[in-house]
Symmetry: C2
Subunit: 330 residues, 2 copies
């Protein structure tokens, strides 16, 4: 059934007559998502079935982490688990080496990168303040054109952001664990050297996956090292930033402003001081909305199901897209 055979003879014909591989899609708590993923599995050549029989599990609700143990317990033959989001931190405790895990890594990168550009332009050009104004006010604003942009992380969002910024002529620095050159970036520096480049940063974009190393990494010392005209945009996770330090920095004017699409806590509770700061733009985790993302995730699932169902698919499943590095936790 799982054939990676390269030799001649009949495997291809045999494969063509093999039944489609059984895949389960659960839970059903998000009907539109379940429907879109079911269609994707069928398009990819899979057969939708119950957990007991399935060889693969497509998670159809990112909030389902709590139910995961019972779900996977009912599906003893599952070798591959497809997670629905790009970040896997809610599943970290369940990750194991007895399954192959893929996530939505890179799927949502383009819309999220677009959101970064939207927020950066809004901040630089004072749109957050003009939106709140009820009379004609003084000219304010600076150009993103030619600005120095520092991007934390070197994943899909960074790739897409670099592409969207290309005609803006920005001077782009990518910060990543190992400072291997990043395509389209003018400079790549190691995360350990982040503080050195902050004084030359006009826009700091947080696009990290959340790990122990990045949690709380953006704090008072970061804000104090940035220039006073700098903006920060967070589309990673809220916990990258020490929220109280951000409030303090915005109140003191250590930085010009922050646009945060993710918060800690999230959702940000009513009455939180960030809601009332003139230089803060809060968006409710909409870098990629469900409406934007559903067709994108479905396309990825279709692609992975097709790879999984290929008659000559390798046994190790390392050819699937968006593999989670279980040891690294993302």
């Amino acid at each position: 059934m799982h054939d990676s055979q390269e030799t001649v003879s009949s495997p291809k014909d045999a494969a063509e007559h093999m039944p489609a591989r059984p895949i389960t899609i659960a839970p059903e708590s998000m009907p539109l998502m379940h429907e879109a993923l079911t269609a994707a599995v069928v398009r990819g050549g899979g057969r939708v079935t119950e957990p007991a029989e399935a060889e693969a599990l497509i998670l159809a609700d990112p909030r389902a982490a709590g139910d995961f143990p019972s779900l996977i317990g009912s599906a003893p033959n599952v070798r591959w688990v497809q997670l629905p989001y790009a970040g896997v931190e809610t599943f970290t405790q369940h990750l194991d080496t007895s399954h192959v895990w893929t996530c939505g890594k890179g799927v949502y990168a383009r819309p999220v990168a677009e959101h970064v550009v939207a927020c950066a332009l809004a901040g630089f050009r004072n749109l957050h303040a003009y939106a709140r104004a009820t009379s004609w006010t003084a000219q304010k604003g600076r150009n993103l054109l030619g600005a120095s942009v520092t991007i934390l992380g070197a994943g899909g969002i960074t790739d897409e952001l670099v592409a969207l910024l290309e005609p803006f002529g920005c001077n782009i620095t990518v910060v990543r664990r190992k400072p291997e050159p990043h395509p389209g970036a003018h400079r790549t520096v190691a995360t350990a050297d982040l503080d050195e480049i902050l004084p030359d940063t006009d826009l700091l974009v947080v696009a990290w996956a959340l790990t122990d190393r990045t949690s709380g990494r953006i704090n008072r010392s970061t804000f104090e090292a940035l220039p006073e005209h700098a903006w920060i945009v967070n589309v990673g996770r809220g916990a990258h930033i020490v929220t109280d330090d951000l409030v303090d920095a915005l109140e003191r004017g250590n930085i010009a402003g922050a646009a945060i699409d993710v918060t800690d806590p999230e959702p940000l509770p009513d009455g939180h001081p960030l809601w009332h700061l003139d230089n803060c733009l809060i968006t409710p985790h909409v870098g990629n909305t469900l409406d934007m993302g559903r067709p994108l995730l479905a396309a990825r699932v279709e692609q992975n199901v097709r790879l999984f169902c290929e008659p000559h698919a390798p046994d190790d499943l390392s050819h699937l897209i968006g593999l989670v590095d279980v040891a690294a936790g993302y």
Copy 2:
């Protein structure tokens, strides 16, 4: 002094000993502008002098139209007038064929194009509403990625906007008087055919120069022809849009929203209904701010002064940049 000549002989030496051409910069009502333009004239090879002696006049305040007759009356030898802004409508009554006129056409195009992208992204992604929110609200927004964008006008702003939108994969239609193909646009249509393409437009960008033909051209019928999810961004002049019709369209939901950097009347008075519409983002004519534009205008003036002062400059001055077509009025 500034020699572009490639041949030998003496004209070069002669030119080098010619006195720099006398140029006047007036009025002095904007000190930073006057200072920047004075430096630019000197860098370009001109000699700054009084109106009575000058061969060229650099207008250093866009609000100076009313004083223009007395100014030009005191400068009988002036052949060339450099106007400070891209739009020349406040000078239309003074335009004549006894002077050569240049304006800031194209100078401010990049920042203004950036403002269009900022406003379009803000509108599409609901940032104007999120900026006003004081609690975590529902996901809303759509992508500019892949949207159908219709741009009215084919000047410098359009050129720069097309370039900035390139990585967004938008489907771009340029609307211009004569439907000659526009570089980077997927389609060019004549202004007369505008109404036909409105139903397929997600984003309508008004980047016209203001003329009798465009004044009031965006009105009730335009808004009714656009889809209900469409946004309009106006960076041309306020009078392109019939303001009462816009208020009405935004109230009725004929379109999703409007981002207007220019208004009619301008400045928009306190209490105007547009200030209180959820789906309207008003910016106070900041597509290009004085701070953004001053160095850009200075660079253009330096360039034109250099061309004007060239020893072998043609008598007709048609080589200057940003020539105003006196008959067309822009």
